[in-house]
Amino acid sequence: MDTDLMLKVYPFFLKAAWVTIELSLLTTILGLACGALGAAARLSRLAFFRFLGTAYVSLFRGTPALIQLFLLYFGGPQIGIQLDAFQAGVIGLGINIGAYMTETIRGAIIAVDKGQTEAARTLGMSRFQTMARVILPQAARLMIRPLGVNINALIKGTALVAAISVVELTYTAQRYIGSTYKPFEMFMLSGALYMVIIYVAGRAIAWADRKARIA
């Protein structure tokens, strides 16, 4: 084990970890937005929106994120979408994880007892009011943990953007492997940083879950 080398390069890994963190945060936000929209579409009264929602989930869950990224980043310019690599990474991964989050959010919403909707509607509350004040507050508790799993997968999935020239944690490791021929040391560094990021994210999610449960 070449600890000297590890000591020398670890600051650059820290910097790369920061890129991974930024990517993860932005992707999470975009993914949640897509998930919320997707779930709304899938639960819509209108068949057209339901179809859109279903097609979105099916296509984006049905093909590898890597290929979606390639098509967005390399294929985008052909239809006039010019994105830099980081933007493409966030948008590509965000839309991809959004499809998974759609299902998570939808699942939590339909898991709320139907009697709750009935009771609220019986009082004269509208569909929207019922959703906002009765169903969503209850669904929120149910969805935090499964969304946490989505986020965990997303953080690890950010490694894919190496393929479109974003130098994040995994590609930093790979570049150093290329020049130092020390794969184990480099992966040890990146692996440890991933574990820290994922640990912190996990704690944050557990905290949110606890908060929601107490409320």
Binding site: R45, E118, A119, R121, T122, L123, G124, M125, R133, Q138
Partner: protein
């Protein structure tokens, strides 16, 4: 509204699920202040009929009128939504499984709809909640969460929640059948109290004794039709039809062995 218009008027109600006809042409008028019990075997369509009154399970045929307004009016979606949310405020409903909102306190459960729909201020809504909880004897639990209440207490809160909308009629769908026998009585007392205040009520129940002591009229339903209808003394003591007799006999065996 002139005096000849019935208070609640259900005309030729029909309901099918696919090819299964669950309600077969039932008509019923209820006067203001009248208390009607609906009894009948499981699957006879009692719940479906009750839930049709506020259009929760829309009828496939027939009309429901409350004080001269048609409840189940055919309207374009948006107008219908507006209309039905208005009408439902006049029709309180209490379910077998309470359906309290678990994320809100007792107070929150009661004030949610009045605040949202009637624009009550916090202070007014609170006053309203206290009044209604007092009415069902639950004032001391106003800041509890539903999970901290017994079944009977939950049901009394559910009743208070419905009452807080000042409904013109209350529908009860087996309000006590999910309760332990000892807890039934406290809910029955609340319903009796409402009866003494001349609240119009339609009560689906399995408790013949309670029906007998509280109601003005009893409907016996079976397989989607009203088999027999009349004052409790007649229905329970001298039913005309064989089916009613059979049901009552079995039922008493079931309850008293």
């Amino acid at each position: 509204m002139n005096d000849k218009t019935p208070f609640l008027d259900i005309r030729h109600a029909r309901k099918s699920y696919g090819s299964l006809e669950v309600i077969k042409d039932i008509s019923l008028t209820v006067d203001r202040g009248e208390i009607v019990a609906i009894i009948g075997p499981s699957g006879s369509g009692k719940s479906t009929f009750l839930r049709a009154i506020n259009d929760l399970d829309p009828l496939t045929g027939g009309e429901v009128w409350l004080e001269g307004t048609q409840v189940n009016k055919k309207l374009p979606h948006r107008q219908y939504e507006k209309h039905i949310n208005q009408v439902r405020q006049d029709i309180g409903m209490v379910f077998q499984h309470f359906n309290l909102f678990p994320h809100l306190s007792v107070r929150g459960n009661i004030t949610l709809a009045p605040k949202m729909l009637k624009g009550l201020s916090d202070a007014d809504a609170n006053k309203l909640a206290e009044e209604q909880l007092d009415r069902v004897g639950m004032l001391d639990r106003i800041d509890f969460m539903p999970s901290q209440l017994s079944g009977g207490q939950k049901q009394r809160v559910a009743i208070a929640r419905a009452l807080a909308m000042k409904p013109k009629v209350m529908l009860f769908d087996e309000a006590t059948s999910a309760l332990d026998p000892e807890l039934v009585e406290e809910v029955n007392q609340v319903m009796k109290k409402l009866a003494s205040e001349h609240m119009t009520m339609i009560i689906v129940t399995h408790e013949m004794g309670f029906a007998e002591s509280v109601c003005d009229r009893v409907l016996f339903m079976d397989q989607g039709v009203v088999v027999e209808e009349g004052p409790p003394s007649v229905i329970f003591r001298n039913p005309e039809s064989e089916r009613t007799r059979n049901f009552l006999r079995k039922h008493l065996e079931g309850v008293r062995s």
